[in-house]
């Protein structure tokens, strides 16, 4: 037995491998790619610093999402315009500036639910786990978010 056996040094590697994508997707869905990724790094750094505490949780990703929310608030507080890539999403690779702008007008909860369920093909149960909220709350955000998106996008395109 060695340090890493007890300290779960390698367990942390396994945890990151298993949880990072879900966490990053959730934070990117909430705050856009730039802040979303930075918030993911901060949340996982926090996880490493508080690894003993995190191990007591069955659904640590939901907790870390909240940690990431805290981190994103800090990035937003210094006036970054990357809060959500509404104004800057003019990249041909995105090809969806209109959609990004419409997502940016949703609440954080609504667009997180929308992007995770319809964008990342998560079930409502999986989205609830990673966002740390109930399935019924996800469903509510999803319905309201999609309703607003359809209203803005489909009407504009004459659907």
């Amino acid at each position: 037995m060695g340090f890493d056996d007890y300290a779960s040094y390698r367990d942390f590697e396994a945890f990151v491998a298993a949880a990072e994508q879900r966490l990053r997707r959730a934070l990117v869905a909430s705050y856009g790619p730039a802040i979303g990724r930075d918030a993911t790094v901060d949340a996982l750094s926090w996880a490493w610093e508080h690894w003993d505490r995190l191990q007591g949780m069955d659904y640590p990703v939901g907790y870390l999402y909240r940690v990431g929310q805290t981190a994103s608030a800090r990035y937003l507080s210094i006036g970054s315009s990357e809060a959500y890539p509404v104004a800057t999403s003019q990249s041909p690779s995105d090809g969806e500036p209109e959609l990004v702008r419409a997502l940016g007008r949703l609440s954080v909860q609504q667009r997180s639910a929308v992007v995770l369920v319809h964008g990342c093909a998560m079930s409502q149960r999986e989205a609830a786990d990673v966002l740390g909220i109930s399935v019924s709350t996800v469903r509510e955000h999803l319905e309201r978010g999609m309703g607003r998106l359809r209203g803005e996008l489909e009407v504009r395109h004459g659907h």
């Binding site: 037995m1 060695g2 340090f3 890493d4 007890y6 300290a7 040094y9 942390f12 990151v16 491998a17 990072e20 990053r24 990117v28 869905a29 856009g32 790619p33 730039a34 990724r37 790094v41 949340a43 750094s45 926090w46 996880a47 490493w48 610093e49 690894w51 505490r53 949780m57 069955d58 659904y59 939901g62 909240r66 805290t70 981190a71 608030a73 800090r74 507080s77 210094i78 006036g79 970054s80 315009s81 990357e82 800057t88 999403s89 003019q90 990249s91 995105d94 969806e96 959609l99 992007v115 319809h118 964008g119 093909a121 609830a128 740390g132 909220i133 109930s134 399935v135 998106l149 489909e154």
Partner: protein
Amino acid sequence: MDTEVEQRIARLAQHWDTSTRPVAADEARSRPSAIGALDIHSVVAPVRPVPQAIPARRWIWMAAAASIVALVVAVAAIVREPSNGSISSAPAESTVPTTAAPDETAVTTPVVEERPTTVSDVMAQATTRLSALQSFRATATVRTTQRSIDDATAVVAPESTTVNDITLMADGSLWMHGDLSLWGSYDASTGMSRGAFLAADGTTQYQEIVGWTDNSTPLLIALGYDPVMRFDAVQDTVVEVVDRQLGRPAWRLTASFAYGTPEDTTAFSQVETYTIDQESGLIVEYGRTSINNGIEDVTEAKISDLQVDVDLPAEFPGAFPDGAVVDRSGNPDGFALLTPETASQRFGGELLLPAQGDAEQRIVLSSSDGVWGDQAIPVTNFQVTVQLRTGFVTKSVVVSKAVLQLGAPISDPGALVVDGALCRSQDRVTCTDTPDSAITSGALAGRPSTQEGRIVTATSGPVRYVIMAQTADDALATANSFS
């Protein structure tokens, strides 16, 4: 069938997924989190407590019992003389592993000398004590167990108890021996951790890990918690005055956290208690009870036989026998102590640093490749971490910037390159930042900055500064001291 809107969302999410570089464990470990242990409560939306019947009732009774204890303690404080209980002097260190049971019998009538009513009061007073503390040695006992809350007899994980002797220096160096290792060490001057362990077959195994920037891994192994925590005032943190086994007065903080609804299997609740020795400022007992999906997870950790101002044993950091097979691992480039001049040279461009004062200064630089912005511009992230330590009280400054990689195209119209580093700009001339500034003096005065509790964040062009201290006042004072 998916609608057009859903298909468009799927395409956008896929693009983001592929253009956002995954976060590796090494990257997470190498970047100190700018988030305090309890900061989360103060920023995210309020959470709803989970009314788990059995533990809720137990905690109510425990709270009631604690209130009664506090009342008795208060009465005792009025009628008794101050205790002469003091921290013992340091006997010679022994490396004989110990499995002795913790001292449960030395409870004496406590005397309350101070009665802080807020977390800030506790923090301020504990910080004063910790700043004068240079080292300690103690016996650490950690007990963990898991059980079903629906069936008290159903044990999910058997109880585990470990007892270890640990010597911890203020700079982070430590020496330990006991149930977990024949001996183990972390050397803060080299970033190296070593240990000798008894294998199941009775043989001794040796291990050496290099490149650790701090002692968190071996410390949490031995103690089960960090004895120097950072508390922020949160509404659900309760301050009590309690006694402890050494007979000296102590503070106890109780913090709770919960989210979800009772019918939600992902609901999570947690209650943590921290008992802080008033003489040393150290957390001497830590308890955590968390409940999730019908499982109660309990950790109880405490230190006893506390001695302060001790030396590391002569055998530190430990040597391997000639010919021993040593399991060696870690990142040889993961740790390097720098002078301010060297750090500035390697960081490149402007690097402002806080006043050192009487504190011990420790500077570490790290770098990693990454991407910047939603257009995934290739960059190299540089980060300088400055730690200023007085006794066991540490404040830190993290300075970071994203440097455009050579030849990388800038496809983002909102990106601006200043001295080789990237920032967001609306006018294509200056970096866009908040017009506010919390910093009023020193080299960062007037620079865009904000303060949230004990964290001050500032920017100077494309360079970002995060200043963290034990208290909000100290964080701001540090932010005002840059040159």
